[in-house]
């Protein structure tokens, strides 16, 4: 029996989603495994969002945790001060992050700050915000601010178990992937990829580089900002150390290693690399303190050497082979649908 490629894709997606939905129920007694899968999803969301600005538009953005921190502080402050639910804080956090992205992105793209200069500027942004929030006593300051503790409160988005956080993260991830996929197939997506490949050439062909990049940056900032609200609730406090340059770079690494511009690439990288790193940390971290970081970096270097297009490409080729076997359609082997 021949199956259509689209049907096969759908079934596979459904199966994957069902597995993702069922994971926490299978491991629900083990809090460690739960926090681990939730952390994987967190980085999956961040890297998937990064794919829009980094993967498609080709802007090496190193400021993920700037937007995450803004979202966390917005929602955390609203909750601590005025008892506003983080569900609302999430949207507002996303908006604050977006607003900030406009504030930063507009002049940057207007004055054609790009490539390494964009990377440098964005990484400086994280540090600037960190200092600013340490000094801004009303909201930040050097002392941690705690979120009220509840063992299970939907209104406060505070739970004694990670299961709800997992599903919230999963929901954001699904949204991020859908947004990614939609953009990938829209006019904006083609413009962005054109810009990512050769900005000057794209502009000559009439692509409005400034507007497109700004749109990409705004969408990315909103998703990351909203995630920041969940991040604050999950860890139970807000602190300027959330503006972490190292973590921001990690997000970019996941995006690059996953495969620039491929929708599921960053997620794939997050699943593989974050869990591998955590596995190494948990098994080696106590005995040979920094060995796991060495192994982790060697793995990254090997991927960069042998799969410079990202691990997603490897999976895509394997998947296409499988697909051609199942559908008996040789065409899928050569298919080159962008963004998939």
């Amino acid at each position: 029996m021949r199956i259509k490629a689209t049907t096969f894709n759908r079934v596979l997606l459904g199966v994957l989603l069902a597995i993702a939905l069922l994971i926490p129920l299978l491991i629900r007694t083990n809090q460690y495994n739960l926090v681990l899968v939730t952390t994987v999803l967190l980085f999956g969301v961040l890297a998937t969002a990064w794919n829009i600005i980094g993967g498609m538009a080709g802007q090496l953005d190193l400021a993920a945790f700037a937007y995450l921190g803004l979202g966390a502080f917005t929602s955390g402050t609203l909750l601590i001060r005025w008892n506003v639910s983080p569900w609302i804080g999430m949207i507002l956090g996303g908006l604050v992050a977006t607003g900030f992205a406009v504030l930063v992105g507009f002049p940057l793209f207007r004055f054609r700050v790009r490539e390494v200069w964009y990377a440098l500027t964005s990484s400086a942004l994280v540090e600037v915000l960190k200092v600013a929030f340490v000094m801004w006593e009303d909201v930040g300051g050097p002392v941690e601010r705690y979120l009220p503790y509840y063992s299970f409160s939907l209104y406060h988005m505070r739970f004694g178990t990670y299961i709800p956080y997992y599903y919230i993260m999963l929901a954001i991830l699904v949204i991020a992937i859908v947004v990614n996929y939609r953009i990938g197939r829209s006019k904006l997506g083609f413009y962005l990829r054109a810009l990512g490949e050769d900005e000057d050439a794209a502009e000559i062909l009439g692509v409005d580089a400034r507007a497109c990049k700004l749109k990409a940056l705004m969408i990315y900032a909103f998703i990351v900002g909203a995630t920041g609200a969940v991040y604050a609730c999950m860890y139970g406090f807000i602190h300027p150390s959330f503006f972490s340059g190292a973590r921001s770079t990690e997000v970019a690494i996941l995006g690059i290693v996953g495969g620039m511009g491929i929708t599921y690439g960053p997620l794939l990288a997050a699943v593989i690399l974050v869990s591998a790193r955590e596995f190494l940390r948990a098994s080696l971290g106590g005995q040979m303190e920094s060995l796991y970081l060495v192994i982790y970096s060697v793995v990254l270097i090997l991927i960069a050497l042998f799969r410079p297009q990202g691990i997603a490409v490897f999976f895509r080729d394997a998947y296409r082979k499988l697909l051609s076997k199942v559908t008996g359609d040789e065409h899928v082997l050569r298919a080159n649908t962008p963004g998939i």
């Binding site: 809090q31 460690y32 002392v143 941690e144 705690y146 503790y149 150390s241 106590g286």
Partner: protein
């Protein structure tokens, strides 16, 4: 088409909803009659990688030596001599890694207590986990707010940051009284972490309690590159003494700038154990380090058999005397040992139950024994918040290039130098 997708999503969604509704919280097993294990597992959760690894590693060695000494002395006697066993986990340097570390160590090893985290924000993140799982957390993070979160299972034997600040002021006041040098005006400086802030708060309170006038107060970023304007402002305010909570590089910067400008007050006292009197700072500063002091949560010179033994073993293993992180965790482990002993006496039916162990901690009142012999104060007991109200910091002063214990006076190794011979005003 759309209908298909919706149906596809519906099945797992319903499944999830059913299971979710059945799991409001972690299911606790009914506690049966207590059966004692053949060893008691204690967790070491410290930042062993990243920016704070140097502290975490020292802390871990302190714990290892303590466990060795406890087991050599016959383990927990009230529980039939069960030995302790240390399991180690890296807490990394961020809230998420600390959280992962806490979940991992608890689910894998089920420790009765965890020592650690050193950094307050890591402690905050992990303490929500230890609280939920009812695991005793013996904190070595000194920021005051750590014990102000309302945690039930968190204890901190070491002096908290504000007690460090208060000790620094107390030392200066007592030294001034002894030498007959009047002091009235004080300047308080701190780097801009929650730790620096807590230290300064304690110092301010102590200054006001002692009737001193705070003529200058400043919080600055710990990675500050030039401090000459601050030093000039201090000189203009003409304080008798400066009490300062630095990190490391900024302490070196301040000491050098004070020397270069020559505007040196009667005394400059450090607080919070970072900078000025540690071996690296003394080496970097050379003669400039002379007469600077700092506060410590551990007194390596305390002349007791237990402390001598600890210092000896520590030096044999690492080549240097125990740092604060190592010392704090050495006596913290002994405090845990004493609490376990007491729990065995008070609750022989179920001594390792977290609530019974917590009760033992609250009833603990130690004035002798190995824990007190290595402790900077002479009494260890805990309030409901988990702090020891009798905690004091020890003060070390650099004299002839060596850090020497000078306060509390009865535990002093050598006579303090006050005021500074090079004081200009």
């Amino acid at each position: 088409m759309r209908g298909k997708v919706v149906r596809l999503l519906l099945v797992p969604a319903v499944l999830v909803a059913i299971v979710l509704s059945s799991c409001g919280g972690p299911t606790a097993e009914e506690a049966g009659p207590a059966e004692l294990p053949d060893k008691i597992v204690v967790g070491c959760l410290e930042p062993l990688t990243g920016a704070h690894a140097v502290f975490g590693t020292e802390a871990k060695i302190g714990m290892e030596i303590a466990i060795r000494h406890i087991n050599e002395a016959g383990g927990i006697q009230s529980l039939g001599g069960i030995p302790l066993e240390l399991v180690v986990e890296d807490a990394g340097e961020t809230a998420d890694s600390a959280r992962l570390g806490a979940e991992s160590i608890i689910s894998k090893h089920h420790p009765v207590a965890i020592l650690g985290l050193y950094i307050s924000r890591l402690t905050v993140a992990a303490s929500e986990v230890t609280e939920r799982e009812k695991v005793i957390l013996i904190a070595d993070a000194l920021v005051d707010s750590v014990t102000a979160m309302g945690r039930q299972y968190l204890f901190r034997p070491a002096p908290k940051a504000s007690q460090h600040g208060a000790s620094a002021v107390q030392f200066v006041v007592e030294a001034a009284q002894q030498t007959g040098v009047p002091i009235e005006r004080i300047a308080i400086l701190n780097e801009d972490s929650s730790f620096g802030r807590s230290n300064a708060t304690g110092a301010m309170q102590a200054a006001l309690d002692n009737g001193l006038t705070i003529v200058y107060q400043k919080e600055y970023p710990f990675d500050i590159a030039d401090v000459s304007s601050i030093v000039n402002e201090i000189a203009a305010a003409k304080p008798d003494v400066v009490v300062h909570c630095p990190y490391f590089m900024d302490a070196i910067l301040f000491a050098n700038t004070f020397r270069e400008t020559g505007e040196i007050p009667k005394f400059i006292a450090g607080m919070g154990a970072c900078g000025y009197t540690d071996p690296e700072s003394i080496e970097a500063l050379g003669e400039t380090a002379e007469y600077y002091s700092n506060t410590y949560s551990y007194n390596p010179a305390k002349d007791t058999p237990q402390n001598r033994r600890f210092v000896e073993d520590f030096v044999a293993e690492t080549g240097h005397i125990p740092t604060e992180a190592a010392g704090m965790n050495y006596y913290a482990m002994w405090v845990l040992k004493e609490a376990l002993e007491l729990s065995g006496q008070l609750h022989p039916d179920d001594p390792l139950n977290p609530d019974n162990l917590r009760d033992a901690f609250l009833q603990l009142d130690l004035t002798s024994g190995p824990a007190v012999e290595t402790y900077p104060g002479d009494r260890i007991t805990f309030t409901e918040t988990g702090d020891n109200p009798y905690a004091v910091a020890t003060i070390l002063q650099v004299i002839n290039g060596e850090p020497k214990v000078v306060w509390p006076f009865e535990a002093a190794e050598t006579e303090f130098v006050f005021p500074r011979p090079d004081a200009k005003y």
